[in-house]
């Protein structure tokens, strides 16, 4: 990862965090579908990023969002899990021939079908941990499952829309 990419990703993480805190905090479709758009920042990090910093970034981002949500630790725990699972899931979903070293796991570069199959389970894992921790002891299992499924679908849909609108497709040589 060169320096320009590094700066771009830092800015992207900051921007997504800000949007999450300022606009998406109380957004919930029908009271059940939440939006965790900042996960896009973790999902779209370059593929060759080492595992160790990836987990640290996820934890830091989760904790930063937590502080504003007053749900200290819940986002951090779920985002850390997602950061931990990412390399394994990337390996599992790799297309024939493997990844190009310079590609990013984003919708414009990999296509919409691959992106859904990559991001939906990851966001679902995040949501499942998030709502389990949030409703610990008070919610029913089906309530948690319901919220997790709808939230992951909503988050992925919004993530794809954001990428279609704002992310430019890089021209390969």
């Amino acid at each position: 990862m060169n320096f320009r990419n590094f700066i771009l990703h830092t800015l992207l993480l900051l921007l997504l965090g800000l949007i999450q805190i300022l606009f998406l905090k109380n957004l919930a479709l029908f009271g059940v579908a939440f939006c965790f758009l900042y996960l896009l920042g973790i999902l779209n990090l370059p593929i060759p990023i080492p595992h160790f910093p990836l987990i640290l970034i996820s934890f830091g981002l989760g904790l930063a969002v937590d502080v504003f949500y007053d749900t200290i630790g819940i986002h951090a725990a779920s985002a850390t899990l997602m950061g931990f699972l990412r390399p394994y899931w990337l390996k599992a979903t790799s297309p024939t021939g493997g990844y190009d070293d310079s590609t990013k796991p984003s919708q414009p570069e990999m296509g919409i079908v691959w992106y859904i199959s990559y991001s939906l389970p990851m966001v679902f894992a995040f949501s499942l941990v998030f709502f389990t921790a949030d409703q610990w002891g008070s919610g029913s299992f089906f309530g948690i499952l319901n919220k997790s499924i709808l939230s992951s679908i909503f988050t992925v849909a919004l993530a794809i829309i954001v990428q279609l609108l704002f992310f430019k497709r890089r021209r390969g040589i």
Binding site: F52, G73, T80
Partner: protein, 278 residues
Amino acid sequence: MLRILQFLYRIRSFLLFVLLEVLAIGLIVSNNSPQGAAFFNSSNAVIGSALKTRSDILDFFSFAEANEVLIRENALLLEQIKTLKQEPDSLPIPLDSAFQSQFQFTGGRVISNSLRFAQNHLTLNRGAKDGIKPGMGIFNQDGIVGRVKSVSENYAVGISLLNTGLLVSSKIKSTENFGSVNWDGKNSKQAKMLYVPRHVKAQAGDTIVTSGYNAVFPEGIRIGIISAVNPASDPNYLDILINLSTDFSRVNYVYLVENNQIVELDSLYKKSEVVNEF
């Protein structure tokens, strides 16, 4: 030895993962008690000011409505003052300590609020500087809102009534039967009243108010109206569903209430070995 170190180095990312998860769960648990003071929350100065700026901008659009509510509230209070205030008599009677005001009120503004989680919190723009202390009650013109959890110099974080960890001592206004109001984490417009025995004649439409037993809220602040009464799974109690009178999606200006005699009450409870949780 070297083999062990090599092995540990190989699984370093897994170890980091476990470490961070344990740290996060520790944070969740330590933050979960309704009274516990937390370090990382939105009462922090930087975060508080960011949230305040956001709220300043958003509140601009609801000024007219807020004004309307305040005017109505003022009119009501003026009316009450008129009835309470007596014409000066020739003989002034000094009030003795029994008449000393037990509760003190201040105002504040909610700068951040959530209602979609199972543990909801709100942030206020008043802090220790303005005399806010942990444990104070929060309510607005419609009914109760929550309770202050922790305080920083300029901001305070409160637990919303929409938090499964908060129990509010309450009573049915018409029959004076008391119980605890607790949110079940499902609908932000409804809560449950617990520990009301079977023989009580509660009906849909009865008003629920605070009981004044918990020494946080004065007696008679509205909580909601009963919408359904069913026999609970526990054969001793009723299952009472309440429509909350406060609209938590629009909580903006709130009042804070402090009990001046809470120290005295607490020491009395301690001396007589009464465990008074709420």
